[in-house]
């Protein structure tokens, strides 16, 4: 579904990604972990071109990210959930979800509303359709953000530290929605510090440090039989 070859990203002199090669298969849940500044968010943001790669090749669902037209096409198929939710504060929850399907997919208002209400049901917020983002808790906002991304019926979902800005008691309500998605067979790439989620839901774990992939494998391999010293050091600090 996603192929990344020789990906480099520099911000000025800062070399953030130093040659990443990775694949994400259909229906696979890949969890990307690593210390802050290891480039994991940047990697995720390159996949839908929110960051422009300095070098390398990215192919999403057979479409190479080369032209502006291709980039927009890929973004239609790739949903993204941000650390800070990024809901549209001037719109109701329902309008937040309906906007892109109507403008990009040219869905009728009635159809978009039906999709939106179904998704709100799915994330357990069908009573919040007419609320505004600021009236919701962080966990509720993030669930709306997931529903908003899902409304485009994406083939892949990217999660950029979706629970890092949440109060602890709200983390599980968001993780539960993500687990449901994973069970339904959604292809997912998740940057997170939630090791419980990685262990339980991940098909594969990628450990990054200083702009490189250090080690990857099944959660079982990772949490029980990690080979690299840097992986072991990292895991010993957070587990």
């Amino acid at each position: 579904m996603i192929t990344i070859k020789g990906l480099h990203k520099k911000f000025g002199k800062l070399h953030v990604l130093k040659g990443i090669d990775a694949n994400i298969k259909e229906k696979e849940v890949v969890v990307i972990i690593g210390p802050s500044g290891s480039g994991k968010s940047t990697l995720l943001r390159c996949i839908n071109y929110l960051e422009e790669p300095t070098e390398g090749e990215i192919i999403v669902d057979g479409i190479p990210l080369t032209s502006e037209a291709n980039i927009n096409k890929v973004r239609e198929e790739v949903g993204m959930v941000f650390q800070r939710f990024n809901l549209f504060p001037h719109m109701s929850v329902l309008d937040n979800i309906m906007l892109a399907p109507m403008k990009v997919r040219k869905m009728s208002k009635a159809d978009a509303e039906k999709v939106a209400l179904d998704l709100l049901d799915k994330v357990g917020l069908n009573d919040k359709a007419s609320a505004y983002p600021e009236q919701l808790s962080g966990g509720q906002q993030q669930r709306v953000a997931i529903a908003r991304a899902l409304a485009m019926k994406p083939k892949v979902m990217l999660f950029d530290e979706p629970t890092s800005a949440l109060d602890p008691e709200m983390i599980n309500e968001v993780l539960d929605v993500m687990k449901t998605l994973a069970k339904e067979g959604m292809t997912m790439a998740v940057v997170t510090h939630e090791m419980g989620f990685a262990r339980e839901v991940g098909d594969r774990v990628i450990f990054m440090d200083e702009g490189r992939i250090i080690e990857e494998g099944t959660p079982d391999h990772f949490f029980n039989a990690a080979k690299e010293d840097r992986t072991k050091t990292f895991l010993s600090k957070i587990l």
């Binding site: 001037h90 906007l99 990009v104 485009m152």
Partner: protein, 218 residues
């Protein structure tokens, strides 16, 4: 000195008509300014070098030269190129509109820049184009934030529009001058003219306060 109150009463209808024209020219100019300002403000943030440069030159030129000189250029100098006289009203709204556009552009630029970067990213990540995201997400939020400075610009324009009296356009200030030329009632008329301007500007600033409170959410 005699204070001729009767002169004020007699002049009031003419002055109020002038005030109406002042409001008209201000509203049209700010309207033109909003349109120019929105596009130029966005252009100032463009990644395209030429677009950004052109927008910057326009803003610098307009803000760096007096409105009075700009009015002269449009009314006296431009006809020499066009080979055709320009109607004072057209000259007035053109000069004021182009002038206002530069100030409004800076207001828009600031408003757009104040919107969190995550909003554009969220819109783009959903597959919307840059233009769609700008139109549906960024501008509506920016617009709410720039209501107070836009109100200030409206007030400034209303006062500055008195400058078009120099090309003989009969707005409030020019009406006052004409009445004084006939009656020599400088004190009474200028005082009245000032009070009429004051009433207009205070009304606008109250209106802006109201709008600001109303659109506070978001």
């Amino acid at each position: 000195m005699n204070f001729d109150f009767d002169l004020i009463v007699r002049s009031l209808p003419l002055l109020l008509m002038g005030a109406g024209i002042t409001i008209q020219i201000t509203a049209i100019s700010v309207g033109i300014g909003l349109l120019i300002g929105m596009f130029v403000g966005i252009a100032r943030l463009s990644k395209n070098w030429a677009v950004k440069m052109a927008a910057t030159l326009y803003v610098d030129f307009i803000r760096g030269t007096p409105l009075l000189v700009q009015i002269f250029i449009i009314y006296f100098a431009l006809p020499l190129i066009l080979g055709q006289r320009i109607d004072p009203f057209v000259a007035a709204i053109t000069a004021c509109g182009i002038n206002s556009g530069a100030y409004v552009a800076e207001i828009f630029r600031g408003g757009i820049q104040s919107i969190d970067k995550g909003q554009m990213e969220a819109g783009r990540s959903l597959g919307m184009t840059w233009g769609q995201t700008m139109y549906h997400i960024i501008l509506p939020q920016a617009f709410k934030r720039i209501i107070p400075p836009l109100g200030n610009e409206f007030i400034a324009m209303l006062k500055d529009s008195s400058l078009v009296s120099v090309i003989g356009f009969e707005e409030l200030t020019r009406r006052g001058q004409l009445i004084i030329a006939r009656t020599y009632g400088s004190f009474e008329i200028w005082l009245t003219v000032a009070v009429i301007y004051l009433i207009m500007t205070l009304t606008i600033s109250r209106l802006v306060d109201y709008l600001e409170r109303r659109y506070k959410i978001g």
